[in-house]
């Protein structure tokens, strides 16, 4: 069935380094993707989104890359800070225009080391 998954369940990086979190999706019909950050005990927080007509989008210290050929999504965080420690989820919309159900990946825990 359709699914969204992540290559790495945990990632530890040194403060100040760049982080890359990866995500694979299986539904080629998905045309909208969102990265969420979830801190302990809180709801998913929107970070950045990208539509399938783009392959790169930049925000403040974050960049999302979309490779539709291999159905791969990544989130890059520049100069990772302690406050970036959280679980990161990618989500895809596999049925745009109907139901609007976002499917979440399993999540990657990012730990920022001092």
């Amino acid at each position: 069935g359709e699914s969204v998954g992540l290559h790495l369940p945990t990632l530890s990086v040194q403060e100040g380094d760049n982080s890359i979190i990866n995500c694979a999706y299986s539904n080629s019909a998905s045309d909208y993707f969102i990265w969420y950050k979830q801190e302990s005990g809180k709801g998913p927080q929107f970070i950045i989104d990208i539509r399938s007509n783009m392959d790169k989008r930049q925000g403040q210290r974050v960049t999302v890359l979309l490779n539709k050929t291999v159905k791969h999504l990544s989130l890059q965080i520049a100069a990772t800070q302690p406050g970036d420690s959280a679980v990161y989820f990618c989500a895809e919309n596999p049925s745009p225009g109907y139901g609007q159900n976002f499917v979440f990946g399993p999540g990657t825990r990012l730990s920022v080391l001092p």
Binding site: K42, G43, F89, S95, G97, Y98, G99, Q100, F104
Partner: protein
């Protein structure tokens, strides 16, 4: 900044009891959702709601679950007879227009004893 609000933040109930989880979506949003997250696991879709009716639901959303938008601001999830396995964090979310950003509330932690 507008946000999705959920009450209560924690709910403890006995198995077999009914619970109602409440949400106030962002005021001009049209699409409403419930998701749940079992501790340490991924966020799972339960149901989506648009134009006063369910637009999609998952296998989790069985006959014990129902949703309602009783007025212009609230969106509720009812579990008629709770089971132990219903223990999870329940998130409400809303979206303004089709295929746009999905915003989440801070969740209700449901514990079924």
């Amino acid at each position: 900044e507008p946000e999705v609000t959920q009450t209560p933040s924690h709910q403890v109930t006995q198995m077999g009891q009914e619970v109602i989880l409440r949400c106030v979506p962002i005021s001009n949003h049209l699409y409403f959702y419930w998701y749940r997250q079992i501790l340490g696991q991924k966020v799972e879709f339960l149901v989506s709601f648009y134009n006063n009716e369910i637009s999609e639901k998952s296998e989790i959303f069985d006959d014990q679950f129902s949703v309602e938008r009783p007025d212009g601001s609230n969106f509720t999830l009812k579990i008629r007879s709770t089971k132990l396995e219903d223990s999870a964090m329940y998130f409400c979310a809303s979206m303004g227009r089709t295929n746009e950003k999905l915003f989440f509330g801070s969740g209700t932690q449901l514990s079924v004893l």
